[in-house]
């Protein structure tokens, strides 16, 4: 008897579809395999996904109401309140869990803003060179001389504090840094034969830039996005701590540290330490992911 069952593998292995896409998907699968072999990548993802779950489910999984459950203030950690209570008697654990939400919305958007604007700028600078590149490079250099936190402070004082302004300001300050990275990646790509071939075919500059060069600098761009995401959390947390980021009654971590840190000297450490550790775990996790991506994609 002849076995005629067709397994999914035999379809995938067969000469179906254009070879180019299958080559690309093989390469992608190879990259993912390499990434999954790195413990740092896995640990980083577990922590980030954990915080995303907290942010999405929010008050549905917190043990207490993080906003309106005012008990006895500054109770030390106990079986009832694992992380203790803050100055208004709210459960610190519940507030730390919900505190993931604001920063996990603002930081990725700020990073995305910076990466999209920076990549566009970097592609143009690296590809067209000449006077445009010279002028933009000078401006980028000037931006790099700006102390990020201080300029953000100045901008937020002028524009007023709101999440949109924080995204906008942090995104703009990240743009030149991304532009510089993408520019140098484009500079090494544009001398390669495939770009010359496209030019000889008579393709337009815009086509070469968007369809030929851009896919090839996607690796550094993805790495840059993750790195910027880490820095965005870093910056937004610092701004909230300085009082110009998120505003009360947000349970944001940086803001919680800012509201509670003066009580540390009196021995009330839990209401500051746990939000601080939450920030630390998130930025470290994102940077572990970024570092793994960097060594796998840029090898």
């Amino acid at each position: 008897m002849i076995d005629v069952t067709v397994t999914p593998e035999s379809i995938a292995a067969g000469p179906v579809g254009p070879t180019q896409t299958s080559e690309r998907s093989v390469a992608r699968r190879e990259t993912i395999k390499l990434l999954l072999r790195r413990p740092a990548f896995i640990i980083g993802n577990i922590i980030v996904i954990g915080w995303i779950i907290c942010a999405v489910l929010g008050t549905r999984i917190t043990p207490y109401d993080p906003f309106n459950d005012f008990g006895v203030g500054h109770q030390p950690p106990s079986a009832e309140h694992l992380f203790g209570t803050d100055r208004l008697g709210r459960d610190v654990l519940s507030r730390v869990m919900v505190g993931a939400r604001d920063v996990l919305i603002i930081a990725p958007l700020a990073a995305l803003f910076g990466v999209v604007a920076g990549t566009t700028l970097g592609l143009i600078m690296g590809f067209y060179r000449g006077a445009v590149d010279d002028v933009l490079s000078r401006i980028v250099e000037a931006f790099l001389a700006l102390p990020v936190i201080l300029v953000a402070l100045l901008a937020l004082v002028v524009l007023g504090t709101s999440p949109i302004v924080v995204i906008f300001v942090v995104g703009i300050l990240f743009t030149p840094i991304v532009a510089r990275t993408v520019r140098s990646a484009v500079l090494s790509e544009r001398q390669l034969d495939y770009v010359t071939a496209a030019r000889l075919r008579g393709e337009s500059g815009w086509f070469i830039l968007s369809r030929e060069i851009f896919p090839n600098v996607l690796g550094p761009t993805v790495v840059e996005m993750t790195v910027r995401f880490g820095y965005a959390i870093f910056t937004v947390a610092t701004l909230s701590f300085l009082g110009v980021g998120l505003q009360p009654p947000s349970p944001d971590w940086g803001l919680s540290v800012s509201e509670e840190y003066s009580n540390m000297i009196g021995g009330i450490w839990w209401s500051t330490l746990f939000p601080a550790l939450a920030i630390a775990s998130t930025v470290v996790a994102v940077n572990l992911i970024a570092d793994s991506l960097q060594s796998v994609l840029n090898e």
């Binding site: 100045l154 004082v157 500051t272 470290v284």
Partner: protein, 317 residues
């Protein structure tokens, strides 16, 4: 060398002018009304107009821009909105106090992180190297105020080893001052450890793979001799540049650290200015830090050129 230096100096001045322009654009980004920002939304229009006139913010933008550039050239940044006194002396005092803290942080972090980076490079891909790289990634990703908080809780409150506030009593001698500044300095040193160690490691790995190191090894030099005579000098060139860039960032991170440790430096001055919407103070602060960054990178370029003759000879040609 002179030609190289003068060219770098001109570029720095152009960058400084652009920086002042960017700051001007930021402060005038909105059709914002400076007096309205200061007085708040409920102030009567007459007081807003009067304040705008006194601050000079009712003049056309181009006049204000020329004024800002003139301030940069003459280093006269005007008077504070709050204290009515000249801004620059106050900022220089604050920078001086912050420089003590920042200097101590660099003094701690530079030798340790270079040693760690070079050591990791010589043990490339072994467990100890992986450990140092991981430690670098971790330490450089945590904000200074978080490290500061954790240090206060553990070292200051639980172990009671060091004072939790950074301001020493007046007329304290140097060891006492260092004792007070040690914890905030360490909080900052931890962040910079990652950057500097990573750069030192990368630089060393690159040099170790070069032909002249193979020659040195093959002519029979011991590892210590090779390291001292050939590797370090070349490997640390990129590290010098990174340290200079860090000096600029140092003054950003210092704001949060000074807040945690209640230290009256640049950070405290800027935060006070931000709370009171003291725009001349904030503007001058950003530009002064920009100048500090510029001088640091210029210094780094000089050291790099001195360490690597190829750079200065290229420029002179």
């Amino acid at each position: 060398m002179t030609r190289y230096f003068s060219r770098r100096l001109v570029l720095s001045l152009i960058t400084l002018w652009l920086l002042a322009t960017i700051v001007f654009v930021i402060t005038n980004m909105l059709p914002s009304d400076v007096a309205r920002t200061i007085l708040g939304p409920f102030a009567p229009q007459e007081s807003v107009d009067a304040l705008n006139q006194r601050l000079g913010t009712d003049r056309p933008l181009i006049v204000q821009y020329v004024d800002q550039i003139r301030k940069l050239v003459t280093l006269d940044f005007g008077d504070s909105f709050v204290s009515q006194r000249a801004v620059l002396p106050q900022i220089l005092d604050a920078v001086g106090r912050s420089a003590k803290l920042a200097g101590l942080a660099l003094l701690i972090t530079i030798p340790i992180s270079i040693a760690a980076g070079v050591f990791a490079a010589t043990r490339r891909d072994r467990k100890i190297d992986r450990g140092i790289v991981l430690l670098g990634v971790t330490s450089s990703s945590i904000p200074e105020f978080i490290t500061g908080t954790i240090l206060v809780v553990v070292v200051g409150v639980q172990l009671k080893l060091l004072p939790v506030l950074a301001t020493p009593p007046p007329n304290a001698d140097v060891p006492t001052q260092i004792r007070y500044l040690l914890m905030p300095a360490v909080a900052m040193a931890i962040v910079y450890f990652g950057y500097i160690a990573r750069m030192a490691r990368a630089g060393t790995i690159e040099v170790l793979g070069s032909d002249y190191i193979r020659t040195a090894t093959m002519k029979g030099l011991s590892t210590t001799q090779t390291m001292r005579r050939h590797v370090l000098r070349n490997a640390l060139i990129p590290t010098v540049a990174v340290i200079a860039v860090q000096i600029g960032y140092l003054f950003g991170g210092i704001i949060a650290v000074e807040k945690i440790f209640n230290y009256n430096g640049m950070g405290a001055t800027m935060l006070f200015a931000a709370q009171h919407k003291d725009l001349p103070m904030l503007t001058a602060g950003v530009i002064v830090i920009g100048i500090v960054y510029m001088v640091a990178t210029l210094g780094a370029d000089m050291i790099t050129a001195w360490m690597n003759p190829r750079i200065r000879l290229d420029a002179d040609r």
